[in-house]
Symmetry: C2
Subunit: 273 residues, 2 copies
């Protein structure tokens, strides 16, 4: 008989084991680890109508006991939300993603357009490219960036690109609209058609935000399960945004770590840097 589970909307659907396995695999768990998680949580899934959210939590907690770094990756989406409530640290994170990808980056710029000055959240450049990114952060699940944002950003990009000083430098200019959640259908349709590079949590499939973070090892420090939320805030305020920035000796002084916690953090960071 098929096991049924409850989706976030309250809908009863048939449980898909493959989805759970894929998510565990993409978090870096090997076959052996995945099977161990599965045997641990299988009875709970089969016992009653359990929510998909609960399954995620169970899998996460089971994985956490096995290996800290993997669990940290698995909670990346929630970790993104912990960068809030403002979008400030999300912009900083994006800067690190593109920095790790080999670009020179700047955040929070004021640049002259043809008509007026504009704020640019993240600029990332190399010899041939100038990329301007508008970052839309939300710490609520399910919120989508709407078409007005895509429209105003498109007009802003055109105005920046038409500025005299820009057109004097013959490089390629690209607009990016980045969301840690998703875009509405209209925003997607317009953005794609207007030549905006649309980057969201799971779009585009091969180079989604999630995959770029993994590919360029730019895990936010909020992924760490071995330090508290207050400690994360302290580190963020000191401009430690991603795990590969962590210097364990410096960290030891800031957070007053016991030897046990120190080794836990080192273990997690090893998997996230």
């Amino acid at each position: 008989m098929n096991t049924r589970v409850i989706k976030s909307g309250g809908e009863l659907v048939i449980f898909e084991k493959e989805k759970l396995f894929r998510s565990l695999k993409s978090a870096g768990a090997n076959e052996d680890e995945i099977n161990r998680v599965w045997h641990k949580i299988k009875p709970k899934i089969e016992a009653e109508n359990i929510s998909t959210r609960k399954i995620f939590q169970l899998a996460f907690n089971t994985l956490k006991k096995q290996r800290a770094g993997i669990a940290a990756r698995y909670k990346l989406k929630n970790a993104m939300r912990e960068l809030g409530p403002s979008g400030y640290y999300f912009e900083k994170l994006m800067s690190h993603v593109f920095m790790n990808a080999g670009y020179k980056t700047k955040t929070n710029l004021i640049l002259s357009g043809k008509c007026i000055n504009h704020e640019v959240d993240v600029q990332f450049t190399n010899q041939s490219e100038v990329n301007w990114a508008e970052c839309k952060f939300s710490n609520k699940a399910g919120q989508k960036v709407d078409v007005k944002v895509a429209l105003y950003f498109s007009a802003r990009f055109m105005d920046l690109k038409s500025a005299g000083e820009v057109s004097a430098k013959p490089r390629n200019y690209f607009p990016w609209l980045i969301s840690n959640n998703r875009f509405t259908k209209d925003a997607m349709d317009y953005g794609e058609c207007a030549g905006i590079k649309m980057l969201s949590w799971d779009y585009p499939n091969k180079d989604s935000l999630k995959k770029l973070i993994e590919k360029h090892n730019a895990y936010p420090i909020t992924c760490l399960t071995s330090i508290t939320l207050n400690e994360k805030k302290l580190l963020l305020s000191e401009d430690v945004i991603v795990c590969n920035q962590i210097d364990i000796n410096k960290l030891e002084k800031t957070l007053h770590l016991s030897p046990v916690r120190k080794s836990k953090i080192i273990e997690e960071c090893k998997w996230l840097s």
Copy 2:
């Protein structure tokens, strides 16, 4: 000695008689009527530190006793706010302004752009022109339309103008951004530079929203002082938006008017149609 009055921000400034006279004159009062208002309210202005708001009210009430139509014009700005709380009737009003100016008008359209469909608040056309207007209504004094609105509207206009069916018809296309209040400086700078026709309560000087309403006799029925707010709402819901739409015989049936009120309304409408 100079008389001092209190501005809305609490600041004490020297009273400028000329400003009051100009506002009365632009409401349609003649020299004689202005002088009568002035002699009536002068002692109150001189007696103590009175607010500019209070002066407006005094002048308005004094004028109202003299001639209903003039007072109704004088309160046009407040009458605009009474069209709220949503922007629905403001769009209808703008449609009447441009209809009275000789255009064919439509409100609340969905039109195809090159990339996506867009809502257009008011479209007004003639043989050679197609005008698309985005109407921004606010019923709070002092609220300004910001630059993001001007930017998204600019991108929306470009997308509409790039649509295949549009480019097949060789007419002139104009974007209008209309506010019953004002725009921020950035919105103005961008809009003007990007070729948007910016229309606000008092801009552009010679063809501001206020002056267009006067010029084309499109006074909203909320200007009338002889009917109540509830009666205004009833009429609006029956699609009677401007005073020159009023048919006194029909109105008599809808509102159950006494002969005194009937003649008052006729007198006001004479001045507002």
